[in-house]
Structure formats: structure tokens, C-alpha cells
Symmetry: D3
Subunit: 278 residues, 6 copies
């Protein structure tokens, strides 16, 4: 069960409205790596967590924090939209600056939300549940969490340069600090889990079944022209868990057959084969 307190986690106070910026900020609210994504992702991972109390507790801590980040971004977007009005567009025909700003505004901020944040990204595409990850395998999921915080922080950093409004930047700095901590946090959790279970997900696949395909588990297939790709750590030396050595296959040969599928039954209406009479 959840509870809400009235204060925002951090202060949100912009220096001046900026409806074009409000549109861009939607990316980190309702985009693929916005706060709605990490909020729902950590909550679902927490709700579905089986058998690991300290991980579940940690997921609930962070997921609950992220609900408050969605709240902060709605406050930020509302302030950036303060004073925006439908009439501005009609005046746009007379004044290039107004016109330009109207061109860059998300029309749904005026028409749909009435100057509030929207559950959609910077192009107005609605947030959807396929952005999130909760597989039941904690190591796999925390790799997603580390990645989501990396993309999220990258996007906030890019947004930071889109404004010189010190109020907006102050909020972004708090978010960047939290995203820095969250990257550390998932790295630390991943380190714990890799030490327990090994680095390859899933860890529990039957080892005897893995044997047959042993060579393919260590080969780099050079399928694009040039062999610059032979220069990296992935091409030489041993695998990160020391279970084998990498092989750079400079001229790979297909190991499968030329596949010729069967002609389908008549009721599929494939049409081309005379023997197919209904």
C-alpha cells in the first residue's frame, strides 16, 4: 500500500515559461527512458519479486522514489507552460517569433491536457507498457535498470544544454545526481549477483545441454567487410568468466542448409501449385 505526502522530493521552480522546452521535457517524462518507464519498471519488478527480501525492498524504495519523479516533471512542465494560450497561434501569422514558438509547441499541451504534463514522449507518442522489463530474473532485469538509468541520464544531460534557465537547470542537476546514484546502485547490485550466479544469464540452463554448441559460444563471426572488429577485447583472450577463449572467425562459413519449405495445404490458398485442388 502507498501513501503520498504533499512536498515534492526536490524543489521545482523555473525562472520563466518556455512551451517549446515543455515539449522536449516530455521525452524524460513519457518517453522510452522517461520517469514513467523506470517508475513502472521498478514497481513491477518489486511486485513480482520472488524469494529475495532485500532485493524486493530495494526495488520498492526506488520504484516509490520514481513515482515522485513523475510528479516533479509534471510540476516542471506545468510551469514551463504557464501563460501559454490558444490565442497565441492566431497571432502567429503576424509575428515570426510567436509563429516559431507555436510551431515548436506540442499542440496537445493546449488542446488535450490544458497546460499539464502528458503521458507521452516529445513527439506525442503515448507511453506504453512494452517499454518496461520485469522478467523474474534479477540479474537480467538489473542490467536493464543500469541501462535505463544510462539512457535517462544521457537525455537529461542533453536537455540541460537546451536551456539556460537556472531554475530548470537546478531541477535537472538533482535528477542527474540521482541518476548517477542509480547507475552506481545497479552496478553494485549486478556485481553481487554476478558473484553469486556467474555472468551469463540465465545461469541455470542445464550444462550438459550447453556442451554440444561449445565452439559457437566463443566465436566472433566476421560478416561485414574489413576486420577492424578483430581489435577489441571481444576478439582475443579469454571470456570474462574464464570458461573459454575467444576465436575470431575471419571468413565464416554457413553451417546450415538451403531451406526449402513444403507446399501448404489447399485451404491456405497458396494458389500457385496445380496439385492443390480443393
Amino acid at each position: 500500500m502507498f501513501r503520498h505526502q504533499k512536498e515534492l522530493q526536490f524543489e521545482v521552480k523555473v525562472d520563466r515559461p518556455d512551451p517549446m522546452l515543455a515539449r522536449q521535457v516530455q521525452e524524460v517524462l513519457g518517453g522510452q527512458f522517461g520517469e514513467m518507464t523506470v517508475m513502472m519498471q521498478y514497481l513491477f519488478q518489486g511486485f513480482n519479486c520472488r524469494g529475495e527480501e532485500k532485493y524486493k525492498d530495494m526495488l520498492m524504495d526506488i520504484g516509490t522514489e520514481e513515482i515522485g519523479h513523475v510528479e516533479m516533471l509534471c510540476a516542471l512542465i506545468s510551469q514551463l507552460l504557464d501563460g501559454a494560450s490558444p490565442e497565441a497561434q492566431d497571432e502567429a501569422a503576424k509575428d515570426p517569433v510567436t509563429a516559431a514558438i507555436m510551431g515548436g509547441v506540442n499542440p496537445q499541451h493546449l488542446l488535450v491536457s490544458g497546460l499539464g504534463g502528458l503521458p507521452s514522449n516529445s513527439n506525442g507518442v503515448p507511453w506504453n507498457g512494452s517499454y518496461i522489463v520485469a522478467s523474474g530474473n534479477l540479474l537480467a532485469d538489473m542490467r536493464s535498470n543500469l541501462h535505463a538509468e544510462s539512457q535517462g541520464r544521457l537525455q537529461v544531460a542533453r536537455l540541460y544544454h537546451m536551456t539556460t534557465d537556472e531554475g530548470v537547470r537546478a531541477t535537472f542537476r538533482k535528477m542527474l545526481a540521482r541518476d548517477r546514484y542509480h547507475q552506481y546502485q545497479w552496478m553494485a547490485a549486478i556485481q553481487e549477483l554476478e558473484e553469486k550466479n556467474g555472468v551469463v544469464v540465465p545461469a541455470t540452463f542445464p550444462p550438459e545441454a550447453e556442451l554440444e554448441s561449445q565452439p559457437e559460444a566463443y566465436e566472433f563471426w566476421n560478416l561485414s567487410e574489413g576486420n577492424e572488429s578483430s581489435e577489441g577485447l571481444w576478439a582475443t583472450g579469454s571470456a570474462p568468466d574464464g570458461t573459454g577463449n575467444f576465436v575470431y572467425v575471419a571468413e565464416p562459413v554457413a553451417k546450415g542448409q538451403v531451406y526449402k519449405p513444403a507446399v501448404p495445404p489447399e485451404a491456405i490458398h497458396h494458389d500457385l501449385n496445380p496439385q492443390n485442388k480443393l
Copy 2:
């Protein structure tokens, strides 16, 4: 530019058709972490790669390999569907086993694709471009790649137990081996990049701007009841890059204000405030 050769990368030959399994296999073809995702993700990362020849070459190698994995899965699904026919449903009313199988079949395999693979997941939801990640920041993106291979391998491992068909399992073993290699590969690439740029993404955000929010970058906020979350590596000791020490904030206090947004202009038709006359 690309070229195609007729042989599949690995042999695909099922022992017997199984249209219910065909539906499940769609998850690793056209689902969030299916082969279409990694194919398009690595290709877009490669196409958009700026200034790093060996990384670009490597991305093109893997992205090109993954096109061939989509090809293999289409071959697998076609074979699992061999012999399926529309008439089976009508017979279902008479025979529980037929009925059960028809109930578990993706109707689009009969109606839409005519016994071929579909660009959609195991529930028939079409693949879409928001599954993929290509941000221009290689470390961020490779964390996504490591994660995608973790989820993909997890799902193939779960699928493996859904059949005892040795032909299907042989193909899955090859895919599991390649997904194992790909996890190693992205770990190795991430290690290289973290050594160059530091572990936090993005690395180039202006350090002076980070100072103000220094404390929040190392704090764990305990926002859910209980403090089991204080037991992990993320709660004590120093950050992975040694730049600071973690602080477990057992009883966090909100640092922001109670936010009261302004009343909107009249043309927004907020309706409730008497001073709003048009």
C-alpha cells in the same frame, strides 16, 4: 550494402510440426527481445556510429548475423506450422485434443501469414521501433545490448523446456551458444569503454555543474517500510568509481516545496474560477 547467401547460418530441422509451439516461438522472433529487435538495434547503432571504426565494424558484423537469425526463426516457425490447416478448427468441436491445439494456435498463422513467421510477438502484438535503442553514446547502448542478450537468452532457455523435439532443441542450443557469446562480447566492449570514459553515462557532463548536487549522487533513500535494503553493496562502502561513499538515508525528508500551480488563462476553459471570463 548487403548480400544474401542461400544457406542458413545453422541447420533448422524440426522432428514434427507443433503449431502451439510456433505461437510461443514468435516471442523470440518479434517480441520485445526477439531477433528482430537485436537485428534492428545493432544495424541502427552501426549505421549511426560516428568516429569509431572498430566499434562500427563490430556492430555491422553482429547486426548482419542477426538478420540471419530472423531468417532461421522464420524457417523454424514454418516447419512447426507444416500441415496446419483451417479445417482443423471445424473438427475441433468433435475432438478435445484438436480443440485444445486450435485454442492455443495463433489464428494469424492460418489467416494472415499462410503458415509463415509473423513480425509480432507470442500474443500477436506487432513488433515496433520503440523496442530498439541507438543513442549515439556507445557505452549506454552496449549496456542495452548486454541486457537484450540476457533477456533473449533467458526466453530461449524457457522455450527450450517447452518442447522435447530434438530438432527444435538443436536449433535453440545454437542460439543459446551465440547469445552466450554475445553476452561475453558486450561485457568485453563495456569493459573497454568504462576504462576509457568512466562508469557513469554520460561521462562528459560539465563537472562544475555536478558539484551542487554532490550529496544526492551517493544517497540511498529508504522510501518503503523496512530497511532490508540497507544490506546490499549499494548501501555501504564507496561508489564503483571510488569518487564518494554511499549513505543510507533511513528516514528521508522531502527537500522540495508543496507545489501549487497557477490558474490557467481563460481560453483553456478550466471553468472553475470565477475571475476567468472571456
Copy 3:
């Protein structure tokens, strides 16, 4: 079966083209509460209506009227786009006003529809079937209809202020008048149905099963800080149907357990628990 007559329901004649406005108008054509939504919603409710001749007839009347509203909006958008051309963008670099207008235009009006209306909203997101409601329960559905007309009229009212073009405004005034009538209409229908069936949907749930949870059916749970929410009609007095009295629970206590889910079977590859051996 349907028939079409050539005249529009109301005259559509704009004073001058305005491609930026054309983009905004898409919201009330193909957005969540646009005319496509009410058209498809009323038609599906009418097609699926079981056992109530006068309601079905009424739904078909309004649904059929709304097809004509989609037609009117396509005419309006076409006129707003008259004369727009691809070349304008290239000239934009030279002239701020042209640039601004091009920046605010929906590029698909030029590239995809060739100056016609699109089945999408003001941000170009395609209309989809999950916008509509047709549940078979008329009271539930008519509450949706009343709501949809409220949102639709609100958006047209906001659009009205985006232009001073008297031709456009004249069309909007007709639409506002119809949306006013449609709100009245659904209120009247709801009143009839509530008098027949009671105000709670569904009405026919077995009363004996409701008894057990009697108290929770009248309680307000105060889960956010502050108790301003105790001041409304929802917090005191009796329920609208007089079946009970409201209780404001100022300090609610959870009535459920701390939930600890079971560890999953091995083939799920949860990975963390050593007893899970395949």
C-alpha cells in the same frame, strides 16, 4: 445498410488557408476524443445493442450523424491546406515566417495525404480502436458518451480561440452546438437508465455477495497527506442512492498481508536459489 448524400451536414468554408491550424484540427478528427472516436463508438454500441430497440435506434442516429462530422472535418482540413506545397520548406531558410509555418505543419499533410485529412491526432499518432467503448452495458457506455462529448466540446472550444478566421469559427460553432445537444442527450438517457437500474454499474451483481464488503463500499481512504479531501460531498452524508452513509477514514490501516510469493519452478530460470537445479 448505409447511404450517402452529397451535401455536408453544415457548410464548411474557411476564409483563408492555415496549415498550422490544419495540424491542430487533426486532434478533433483523429485524436482520443475526435469525431472518428464518437463515430466508431456509437456505431459499435448500436451494432452490438441487444434487446433495446429505442436505444439502438438512437445510437444509430447519432453514429450516422458522426460519420458526417468526419466528412466535414476532412473538408475543413483540406481547405486549410489549400495551396500548401513542398517547395515552401526549401524557401523557409530564407524567410522566418515561412520557416515558422513549415515548422508547425504536420509533414504528413504534404508527404502522406497530399493535403487531405489524416486518421491521426495533432501529433500524427494514428487513431486506434482502444479509444472506443462498447461494453454491452448501456449505462456504463452512455457515461462514456457523455464524457467523450465533454472532452470533444472542450477541445473544439480551445481550438476556437486558435483562429479568428470567421469561416472556421462558423463551422466550430455548429460543432459546439451539436456537442452541447449531445451532452444533453446522454444526460437524459443516463437519467432514464439510472431510474430503471440504479446508479451503480453493474446493477445485477448478486446482492448477497456484496454484503461481505459492505463497509468498504462507503469509505473514503485518506492516503495522501492533509485532509482537505474531507470537505466534499463524497466524504460526508449518504450515498447518491441512499443505501448507506459515507465514512472518511482519516488514518487508514492496511487490511492485507505482507505478500511473499513462492519461488518459481526451475525452468523459469529465476537463477538465485541454489535448490533450483534442472
Copy 4:
């Protein structure tokens, strides 16, 4: 800012697993009118609420309660999936009952979430942001809330009959009780707002602009064969706010023109008109 406590709002304890039911329950978790919808809808309405403290507080109370309902449904679905395993499908070929159950299971419960709740509906379609409503106009939005609770309660009532598991039914009874209260609550809030602002949304549209279309605001257009639709409250008597009398237009005449759009400029490549030479 938000906080989480470990106890569920109400007890969730199923008598026995039932993976087919788990799939159906997804509708009220991640469907158009599931708990994710009301949770996000009330939170966004609360976050964006301008100038009405008691309404904002109330919205935050209910929105916060609904996060806990998402939590409860994840617990319910996890329990219904307990013991489900990938191997079951392979055994299905031998046993009709197993086959039937596998056919009715959401394959993503096995492959994607590892026996946890998914942010999607009973057909596996991901939840998306276009399900929710937050327009800034409280009367419009609360009509949506009343409607959403009507659909939600209707669906839970239908689900109730899909099982005789007393544990599942006990949870559903609690949800039905809360949905009953929430319907009362929105009715009460709507009554307050209609008394303040009038029944038509928006209330503040300039009255002088409404005059021109006065007649159309009270007319029912009979556009489908038959006139059973003349029998309802919407067809005779006065409007709910007494501002006018309804008129049943039995044989409506189009008031608009036959619309003939202009031929587009050459660069649109309309192709058919010889004068269009580039």
C-alpha cells in the same frame, strides 16, 4: 513524494492456481479500464490540478490507493500462476486437459514475466498512455472517472463469475466494494461541480458566440430509418439545464454545401490534371 508500506491494502490469497484465469485477470490490471488506467489517470489529474486544493487532495488520495490496487493484482496473478511451468506445454500433446489449459494461457506469463503480472491486457496488448484522461477541466475529467469505474466494476463482476475459487472471489468482492464507493464518489463530485458551473462542458465558452447555432443545440437528427428514437427523454421536453426545449427532427435536411476541393499544386503529384506541369 510517495512512500510504500509492506502490507497489501486487502488480503490476497487464492485457493488454487489457475493460469487461464491469470490471463483473464490481466484485463483489469493492464486493460483499457484496468487498475493501471485509473492509477495513472487520477495521479495525472492530481499532478496537473490547478487552483483547487480539496479536489487535488482527493485525487491524490484515490490515485495513491490505486497504486496499491495494481500491487494487489500482481499478487493475485502471481498466485494464480504458481507452479505453472514451460514443460507443461510439451506434455500437452499427450493430455487434452493440459493442452487445453496451455492453449488458454498467456505465453508471456511463462516466457516474458516469469510468472508475474504484465503491464498488458487479457490479449497481451501493452497498456498505453492514450487510455487515460487529464484535461484540466475537472467536470469533464470526473465524468471520465465515473465512467472508468463503471467499466472497471462491470469487468470485475464478469470476472467474478469466471471462477468459484473463494479466495479469488474474496479479493474481487473487496475491489467491487471499492469500485462501488468510487462510483458514488465521482457522482458526488460531479454534482458539486455541476451546481457550480452548469452541466455543459466547457462552461466558459463565450455566450454570444453560442447564439448563432442556438437551434442546433437542441435538435435530435433522425438519420436512421424508423423513429423509435423519438421515445426517450432526449427527444422531448426541456434540456437538463432548462435553457431550451428539445426538437425531434424526423426528416433532417443537410444544411451544408456539396464540397468540391481545389486541385492541389503540382509538387503534390496528384497526376490526373493536365494543367499540372512542373
Copy 5:
């Protein structure tokens, strides 16, 4: 403006309910090539048609007919669902046939639509506006129409074999007949347009600009292993409009450069290049 008459275009009367078939029929109601698609496609083409009265009139005729086809399919699905009930699922555990049928039912037919047609496909994915085509270029669009009728008829033909219910089949035969006519119709219209404008869309692109790329307009590039593709009409002889002769390029050579994009500006946080200092 539109009008509705109460009779269906053709009789719809199934011999017996069949909820599994109801789910499959959704494909031709709300799928990519279902009746909703052709209805909306022809209406939008008609609404947006500029300058060609007889084509516009024809599009309105067919579009209006298709609204009636949506109506017929809703009637068909309702009848196939007659008698289906939520309780059936609970009984499923006891009886394999019931279980199998429940497994194959669309749960939304019970939970969401209350035994009515849904605006979604056979897997429950909602219909969306990106299924339709209306470009303003009639020849391009009618090629889509011919294609849509081909897919639609193919799917109805496949459905036909899924049932031996003579009532259902009678309705399908009417639909197959209309789809046959509609294929003829679009062929005839295409023939007219190709005679007027030439066979390549668009026809009006400036001829002098086409000259530079003259050779590439007649070449087949053999980019997959094997040259079976040299055997078709597309590989030899002259183009359909006689403007040139086909050339089979058995060993194609790339004509472009190796592309190396520039390093991005600092605020993009590409991270890897040391000269990028903010």
C-alpha cells in the same frame, strides 16, 4: 451526410454459436485487411478526393457499402457468441472440451464487449489508422485498394474452411462475391488511370530530373546468391511502358562511398572523443 436503414445488406444467420470462430472472424472485421480498413480507407479517399467527380462518387459508393459490411460482421460475431458466458471457464477445469473452447476464446468478448464485435483483430490488437491509405494520388491508392481486396478475400476464403456452419458460410459467400467484384472494379479503374497517366507513380515527376538516373531505372540487382531471379519477366525484355529494356546485373558493384559521419558536438555527449570538452 449519411443515412442508415435498418436492414442488413445481406442476411446473417448462423446455424449455431461458435465462440472460437468468433475470435477468428475478428481478423476480417478489425485486422489489417478487415472491413474497418476498407471502410475507412475508401471514405478517406473519397473525402479527400480533389477534382475527379466520378472517382469521388465511386469511392463514396464503395466506402458506404463497407460501413454496412462492418455492421454485418458485428451481427455475425454476436450470433457466434450467443450463449457464451463467464461461468464456462470455471467449468473448464472439469471438462477438456469446455477447457479447450475457453482457451481459444478471446477473453475480451466476455469481459470487455459483453458478446459483441470488437474493433480489433483475431489476436485482440486494436485496429489503427496506419492500416489505411489515402495519398491524394488515385492510381497509387487504387493499387492499394486492389491489394486490400485481394488480402481480404484471401482471409475470408481461409475462414470459410474453418467452419462447416452453413449459415456462416452463406454470409461468407456473399462477402467473397463482393470482394470478387471489388477486385474487378479496382482493376478496371486502374486500367483507366494507367491509360491516362502512364503506369509509373507519380507520373508528373520532371522528366529531365529522371534522366540522370536512367540506367538504374531498368536494372535488376542480383544481391542474393544464385540467379534463379533472372528467369522472370522482370529480368529481360522491355519495361511495361516500353520506355527501356531490363538489364540483369548478375554481379552488382556498389556505386557509393564508405560513409564516415562527422563527430557530433559536445552537448550530444557522444563521450568517446577527447577533443569534445564542454
Copy 6:
């Protein structure tokens, strides 16, 4: 299996950056008829092709070429975005031209892809799998291919006029030439298939079943006012395959019944009918 070579198929070298054009070009990369669509469409048709070696080989040739077109468009978009930066927006408030350009830029080119191509259309809507067609019936599918190349070429032609940048236009000319060839190609293939199988898809539907609906297969139903539609080839003369003569039904009469569906079982909670007691 596939291989990649470093050279682009054709040279891509723009004269100067143009981020507004970059946004428009996304339509032909990730839109409904962009290169991602034809690439995935031809590859899936090829992968799923059963029993026709030369057609499969041809589909693989073209599908493989189209992967290279996606690559070219990513290169084009990257060049058009060269030098774009987040800071530009903040300067926009001071300068109308900058503001206008920022208003027309896709914010995701800055925030999400870091100046690279995106898998989405010109409004930022992600590409999805329901854009593509692969039915197993080659004639049906090749009609889609002819249509897709028609729309694609139309859109590139419209884009051509949006710029006078000679570098961009040179690339577009190559694409227009290839789209011209591809239209020829599918026409040639369709001609072959129609000669083999007849012009109506599917060809193999049982002829005896078609007889019953014979008349409806040749009738034009005039359902919109006016009879301009009687003037085309579709209204008079014989069908394209000479199997019958067209009939123009000027005043069509419905052949179906007035449909009255049955009242549903109680657990559907239809609510209105008193006999429905649980």
C-alpha cells in the same frame, strides 16, 4: 545468411545540413511506406516463400537491396543533422530563424538518437510490424509490393521538391530510379502470376461454392447520391477475366434482415432486462 560490405549502394553527400528536412526524410525511412517497410516486407515474403524458387530468389534480391536503402537513408539523415545541437533551442528565443528551425526539428534527433536516423516516421511514430504484408499468396503480396513502391516513390517525389540541395536531390534521384524499376518489376511479376492463376485472389476457392453468389460478383451498388460512378470501366462491359458482365445497380435494395440480437446471459450484466436475475 547475410553479409555486409562497407560501400553504400549509391553516394550520399548533402551540400549542407538541414535538420527540418531530416525530420521529413524520416517518413521514407520509418513511415508506413518507408524503406524499413519494403525491406521487412520483401524479407518476410522471401523467408516464408514456399515452393517457388525463382520468386524466392527474386524476393531475397530485392529485400537485401532494401536493407542497403535503410543504410543510405541513415547516412543521409546523419548528414542533414550534422552540427545540430541542443544549445540551439535556448538561442531560439532571441532569433526567429533559429526558433523556426527548432520548432520544425524532431526533438528525438537531439535527445534520443544523438543525430542519427530513427526507426520512426516524420511525426516520430515508431515503425511497426503491421505495416508489412506477407500472406503466402504471391499474387496478393505482389499487388502490395507494387502499391508500396507507388506510395514510396510518390513520397520521395514530394520530398524532392522540399529541397534544392543538389546533393540530397542526387540521392533522391537514385531512389526514384530504383522505385521506378521496382514498379516495373512487380508489374512484370504480377503479369506472370495472373496469366498462371487468373486475376482474382485467391484463385483456388471451390468454384461450386462461388456459384450461389454469382450475381453479387458483378454488381456495382450505387449507395451514394448521384450516379457519376456509372461512367467508369467498372460499371459497364465485362469483367477483366471475361467471366461475366458488370451491372450498375442504381437503386440497390438491402437483401438482409433487420437484425435483433438475443439478450445475453445474466453474468454479462447487461442490466436492463428484468428476467435477468443471478
